[in-house]
Amino acid sequence: MLTLLLILIPIICSGLLFIAGKNLARPLAIAGALIELIVAFVALNAHMNGHLDALTLDMPWINSPGIRFHISADGISMLMILLTSILMPLIVYGSFNKSYDNAHYLYALMFLMQGAIIGSFVALDAFLFYLFWEIALIPIYFIILIWGGENRQKITFKFFLYTLFGSLFMLLAMIYVYLQTPERSFDVHAMYQAGRQMDVIEQAWVMAAIFLAFAIKMPIVPFHTWQPSTYFTAPTPGVMLLSGVISKMATYGMIRWIVPMVPAGLENYGYILITISVISILYASFVSIVQKDFKYLIAYASIAHMGLIAAGIVAANTQSLQGSLIEMLSHGINTIGLFFVYDIIYLRTGTSEMKKLGGIRAIDSSFAFLFFIIVLSVVALPFTNGFVGEFLLIVGLFQDQPVAASFAGLSIILGVVYMFRSFQAMMLGETNSLTINLPKLNIQEKTILVVVVVMIIAFGVYPKMILSITEGSIQNLLQGIQ
């Protein structure tokens, strides 16, 4: 029931926002996001105490094709729910520094998306997962189309078509597995069983089709071409949702719908996916280094990190899966931080081109300090959340593919190069005419950055609180495929 509540609260909120006027938009939005957060913690409590039935709802929906409304949350889902509901208040609160036209529609679409995203995290029916996965696409499309920047029509369209392209092949693969189930059911266990009984070649094809959908959404090179321009044109709340949460739907989907469903395909052909992911990491890192614009830099850095997560999931052992989950959480938090830094700078100076900026530390040292901690976490320095994730990921990947792991390890060094370059260009150096009159951070901006930094350090120093959420579920998952 709790999981149903988690889906319904944002959707109801969205409905209220559609009706409510502009004046009520902000209070309603922040209240909705906070209520969702509270319910998420109640759900977490239920999970930690082992009350699985409080989280599960399983009822028939469409009888003849064997589709059930089956939702529940294990540790993996729980972590994703937490990520979404922690980020949402930050994203909503972060959007208050700018007044958007028809803000109530913007928030309504954002909540609709949150409902769909949570739905895809808790769905234990392949069809239901696909449904939520697709529904999440529509609000973000309209968010960028209506509130986006330059050239948004073409860019959003490319984004939409790309993701739909991948999704449809996933649907086809799901239908294929569904038709192998003895009782015609999309239920997770029936799908797993049917998937595992297919021969290796079949499994590889199914794996490839599903992976295509996820690789586009994450994204991974060479399926990434929609991403940098979409991130660039999207309004800040939109890009935060895209990079912080939507990309996690893809990595979560890999854990839920590839690893346990087609283990033999993964075992025999997983190296191809790992190779693609590692190439993606290196390519995106190198491209990040030469970026002139900070927003593009974050976009490419995001590709690099998602590639590492994908490689870790394909390696599918305890460390790599734990690492990927922690990295998903920390990547979500970090990118929100980075995009918020971008937003602060862009609103004040009207540009995010790094060369034009400089010397912000001299004007506002606390801003530079908060930004620096986020940078440290992105480059995976010990005692930040980024370190725990990347360390576990590379250790786990090393057990499976040592060569790939060593190349993936390069990403940390390259990360240092591009992140420090950006920090140097914007924060250090000479103050120029653009930055000299930069207003200091206000309370709202400070609050958000401090929350982000506190989370970075808290999860970095004491990662066990995350590990304990996911531990049991990962063991279950790995036992199933051995």
């Binding site: 469409i62 003849s64 696909y130 529509i138 086809l172």
Partner: protein, 458 residues
């Protein structure tokens, strides 16, 4: 029998209403009559009544379900076309023509005799030839009517020739008897050519490639609400007839016709979608979109099995609802931009009329098959049937077609939400508003409860 009497009675009544110039409120009588028709269908459920002796018409659940659906669509269509009848000197003739056309539709969904099939097709089509040309002062309307008439007559000849050959091969018009004759697996060349000729005739009526060439011109030339009628009600009954013919008479020729069907479906999907993608005229684009949906429905027909009739019913209903919404909106937009049918007339519709923009978006998303709208379930059912029957390649073609379709459906969405316009806000009439809202709600509701329609025939 009661249903047939009711609809034709309504048609005759409307002729008389013209005589005494009873214009006001006649729409209500027609709508009530069609509602009564749905009521009769529900009352007759599981009745299996034979009409005109033993082997002419059979009111089985398939016929009653399709009868209810097309009556429902006709009601929505009548309500959305109030303006067409209001500004019409020959309103009673046009009422009568539409209602007589619906009589043909009733024959088509219930026939058990190929002669009745032929009669149904003719009764359905002849009023349409007139209606397409009903905008007498516009050249393109006349041209469309002429083209439709000539090509339609040609296609009917094919159908009739096919019926004759099948009769020659089996000695019967009864679709059950025909099926039994072929049960041994012995199929003579005469029967085969008869089947192919009938398929050609039917393909023309449902505008499946390569017999679709008439559709874009006729759809574009006809008055917009007549186009809506053809794209929804007429298409629904034509597909029902197509299914009824091939699921009974030619059920033992599956091996032969499936090859042809799969080629026709793939061709339709690719040709229609690629051509639609380059259209700038919304009406023509919707015409091609209508052809492309015929391709998806062909896949459903191809996968002939126990669930096919349910899939077809669901698909036609969902597709028709979104089409009615789309054509209604097109008509209103067109009227407010001096007859401009191009995509640019939709610019900034989200500001000019938020309701229309939202409903149009629902319709477009449903037609492109994106959840949570019911168009997605329709396509999902078709794809599942295709994969289940071993037509993986056709499912892949369908996916590619859907992606191309997204391109042109989204052109409209982008124009409505992404571009601005200086034009004045548009007022939507009460009835049209009602139709639009009903369509939008139905598109969502059918997605949440798809089993109600899919499983209705058991």
């Amino acid at each position: 029998m009661k249903e047939l009497l009711l609809i034709s009675g309504l048609g005759v009544l409307s002729l008389f209403s013209g005589l005494i110039n009873f214009r006001k409120g006649f729409l209500i009588i027609v709508v009530l009559g069609l509602l009564a028709n749905i009521g009769l269908s529900i009352a007759d459920w599981n009745g299996n009544e034979n009409v005109y002796g033993k082997d002419m018409l059979l009111m089985d659940n398939f016929a009653l379900a399709f009868n209810s659906i097309f009556s429902l669509l006709a009601i929505l269509w009548f309500l959305s076309s109030k303006k067409y009848f209001d500004n019409d000197n020959n309103f009673s003739d046009h009422f009568a023509l539409v209602l007589f056309s619906l009589c043909g539709g009733l024959l088509l969904v219930s026939f058990t005799n190929t002669a009745m099939l032929f009669l149904g097709i003719e009764i359905l089509s002849i009023p349409l030839f007139v209606l397409v040309g009903s905008d007498k002062t516009r050249l393109s309307s006349n041209e469309a009517a002429f083209k439709y008439f000539l090509l339609g007559a040609f296609a009917t000849a094919f159908l009739l020739f096919g019926i004759a050959l099948i009769y020659g091969a089996t000695g019967s018009f009864n679709i059950q008897v025909i099926a039994d004759k072929f049960s041994g697996g012995q199929i003579s060349p005469m029967a085969l050519s008869g089947m192919i000729l009938m398929m050609v005739g039917m393909s023309f009526k449902v505008s499946v490639a390569p017999f679709h060439f008439w559709a874009p011109d006729v759809y574009q030339g006809a008055p917009t609400n007549i186009t809506a009628l053809m794209a929804t009600v007429v298409k629904t009954v034509a597909f029902a007839a197509f299914y009824r013919l091939f699921s009974h008479a030619f059920i033992n020729m599956q091996f032969e016709y499936k090859v042809l069907f799969s080629i026709a479906a793939a061709l339709t999907l690719l040709i229609a979608n690629i051509t639609a993608a380059v259209q700038e005229n919304v009406k023509r684009m919707l015409a091609y979109s209508s052809i492309s949906h015929a391709g998806f429905m062909m896949i459903a027909l191809l996968c002939m099995g126990s669930g096919t009739s349910g899939i077809l019913l669901y698909y036609t209903l969902v597709y028709s609802l979104s089409s009615i919404a789309a054509f209604t909106i097109l008509e209103i937009v067109q009227a407010n931009s001096n007859g401009d049918e191009s995509i640019s007339s939709f610019k900034g519709l989200s500001k000019r009329s938020p309701l229309m923009a939202v409903v149009a978006t629902f319709a477009m998303l449903s037609m492109s098959g994106i959840p949570p709208l019911s168009g997605f379930f329709a396509k999902y059912l078709v794809f599942t049937a295709a994969v289940e029957n071993g037509y993986m390649w056709l499912a892949v073609v369908g996916i590619i077609a859907s992606l191309i379709a997204v391109y042109y459906y989204f052109k409209l969405i982008i124009a409505m939400f992404g571009q601005s316009s200086e034009s004045a806000p548009i007022e939507v009439g009460v009835l049209q508003k009602m139709v639009l809202i009903v369509c939008a709600i139905a598109l969502v509701a059918l997605a949440i409860f798809p089993s109600t329609v899919i499983g209705i025939m058991g």
